[in-house]
């Protein structure tokens, strides 16, 4: 483990931006978005709050071509869009989401488009030293720290920056960009770990119950009355799905070219909160109501996928809670449903 001075840290970032096509959190009017960095001054380091969209858009774009089919020869060709880019200043919540995406996309039927594109994206993470906004629940879902999903990771430590490498690519970057760094002594290391553990106290502690029991509680309280309550006010606008760093559901669309020679099969973002997602032939819908969709979406985050991947599929960034116009948010969902469970509120089927 190495550290560099704050001044050096800024110089290194400046050089990375100069040498690479780099993207990071940039302020646009009142909110932040991930956008191209021209200089280091574009990047928000100190006062970061989650961007409108997570960096997911670079790994898994809103719309992408998958296959091109020639009408005459009936031949299909795979299309993979990829570009060598660097994401700078990705926060632990989003890095956890990327690492989750890496697992999901290589599980079962691996997704060649994602995996190929992923190889060309370098992730340079920044640690969080304090809570970014009131919507965050990273402390509860355990995503303040990162284990994997990054190449380089910087964390502030006594006005200096400690550097961790998370991959071979990260080690190469380290050798290329970081010269004259100091190795942390054993004492410093212990102190660093202690300080990092202590910093967690500065984060939101809004979820009142132990998170480890969440999936079994969601299962036992599958028909909790809270779903009906929020189902009534949900606008079904899909904003929560679009801003979520871990939502990966998609729809397919084909488009023919104007010469009527090739058809392109496209993948587009879709979400379980939207009408067409569970629509089948004959206009039947598996999940016609907002209540059913909310229940499904949050069971995916806290129950089904949590059990499958042994980590929360909500990484606690709070983007959905901020985006929701009727204030449906994971903190209230966790507190209400777990609260109802512990206080013995009966669910629908028991009444």
């Amino acid at each position: 483990m190495h550290k560099i001075s704050s001044e050096k840290f800024h110089k290194v970032l400046e050089q990375i931006i100069k040498d690479n096509e780099t993207y990071g959190a940039v302020k646009k009017r009142d909110e932040y978005i991930y956008d191209r960095l021209e200089t280091l001054s574009d990047l928000e380091i100190e006062n970061y709050v989650p961007t409108v969209l997570p960096p997911k858009k670079y790994f898994y774009p809103q719309e992408e071509d998958l296959v091109q089919i020639d009408y005459k020869t009936k031949k299909a060709n795979r299309v993979i869009f990829k570009k060598e880019i660097v994401l700078l200043g990705v926060r632990p919540c989003d890095i956890n989401a990327i690492s989750l995406f890496d697992r999901i996309m290589s599980d079962g039927n691996p997704d060649p488009n994602y995996l190929e594109r992923r190889k060309h994206i370098t992730v340079i993470g920044f640690d969080c030293v304090k809570s970014c906004w009131e919507h965050a629940l990273c402390e509860a879902v355990g995503t303040i720290n990162v284990k994997e999903g990054y190449d380089l990771f910087f964390s502030e430590y006594k006005k200096e920056y400690v550097i961790k490498t998370g991959s071979k690519k990260g080690e190469e970057l380290f050798d290329r960009y970081i010269k004259n760094s100091h190795k942390l002594s054993e004492k410093e290391r212990d102190d660093y770990h202690h300080e990092r553990a202590e910093r967690i106290k500065k984060f939101n502690h809004k979820v009142k119950y132990l998170f480890q029991d969440v999936s079994s509680i969601f299962e036992k309280h599958y028909d909790d009355p809270y779903w009906k309550e929020i189902g009534k006010i949900c606008l079904m606008c899909g904003s929560c799905v679009m801003v979520c760093p871990t939502c990966y559901c998609f729809t397919m669309d084909e488009e023919v070219d104007l010469k009527l020679q090739t058809v392109t099969r496209k993948r587009k973002w879709d979400g379980c909160m939207l009408r067409d997602f569970a629509m089948v032939a004959g206009n039947h819908n598996f999940r016609p109501t907002a209540e059913m969709r909310l229940k499904h979406r949050w069971n995916r985050k806290f129950n089904y996928l949590l059990k499958k991947y042994h980590m929360s599929n909500c990484v606690g960034c709070g983007r959905c809670g901020f985006a929701c116009l009727v204030k449906i948010n994971p903190i209230d969902i966790l507190n209400t449903i777990m609260g109802n469970y512990y206080s013995g509120v009966k669910h629908e089927s028991e009444k």
Partner: protein, 250 residues
């Protein structure tokens, strides 16, 4: 054989037809796959043997009713383009007033020389096969629908609200800033072009197939709008649907 296509306009600004002509890069390829036989904005010929008719504008006179019925009889496929033809647009507001007063307001004592009827979108007069909404239409969506029709597929436009599309663009939410934006109830497909340019959505693409209007009204009230102002904003483009909602039709 290239299918024969015609464009017709009724009460409208003809901006949707101009949006089609604005497809400058694609026009030559487009006329390679269809034959345009009638298009007042672009050509002088007036062929009557068309198979696909694109209709812009709403119906506001007896004469126009006759004309649209004739077009429907000829066309195998009738597709309306733009808010006027699809939802009635703002001229539908005449339906909220006493029609005699409207006539007098517009024509004064010469009303007897005209044959106006209360403004109606096309689908209230004849069957419509597909609608491409918007004020004006999105030219690329128009192109996409044309290609889907020619290739023999079912045309598809988004069924989700503008909010989804707006978020995909990474825009900041205008409602969060207290601006009355109709994104949560309006059909997407425009690429949230207004919100992207920091203008509120006024609902030109019509109501989405699914929305929660009561909850949305609560949101608007919570940022300081009154019932009257909210309904006025809704009615600008979606008067027909609001009328249906109020009579419990939807």
């Amino acid at each position: 054989m290239k299918p024969k296509v015609a464009f017709f306009d009724f009460a409208s600004c003809e901006g949707c037809q101009l949006a089609v002509l604005d497809l400058e890069e694609e026009l030559l390829d487009l006329v390679n796959i269809v034959e345009i036989v009638n298009f007042r904005e672009a050509i002088s010929e007036k062929g009557e043997d068309y198979e696909i008719a694109f209709i812009e504008g709403s119906i506001s006179s007896e004469h126009q009713i006759e004309r649209i019925k004739k077009i429907r009889k000829q066309a195998k496929l009738l597709i309306t383009i733009g808010a006027c033809a699809c939802t009635g647009n703002m001229q539908y507001l005449s339906n909220f007033f006493d029609f005699e007063e409207v006539k007098e307001y517009v024509y004064g004592d010469k009303a007897k020389y005209f044959d106006p009827v209360q403004s109606k979108p096309i689908d209230q007069i004849v069957n419509v096969d597909f609608q491409i909404p918007g004020c004006p239409i999105d030219k690329y969506e128009f192109l996409k629908v044309v290609k889907q029709v020619i290739a023999g597929g079912l045309p598809r436009i988004p069924n989700y609200p503008v909010c989804s599309e707006c978020k995909m663009q990474g825009n900041e939410c205008l409602l969060k800033k207290g601006i009355l934006c109709l994104g949560p109830v309006t059909r997407a497909g425009c690429g949230a072009i207004c919100c992207k340019n920091f203008k509120y959505c006024f609902g030109c693409r019509g109501l989405a197939p699914e929305f929660n209007i009561e909850s949305f009204k609560d949101v608007l009230r919570s940022i300081g709008y009154k019932e009257k102002g909210i309904m006025a904003q809704f009615k600008i483009v979606n008067g027909k649907d609001i009328q249906l909602l109020q009579s419990g039709g939807k």
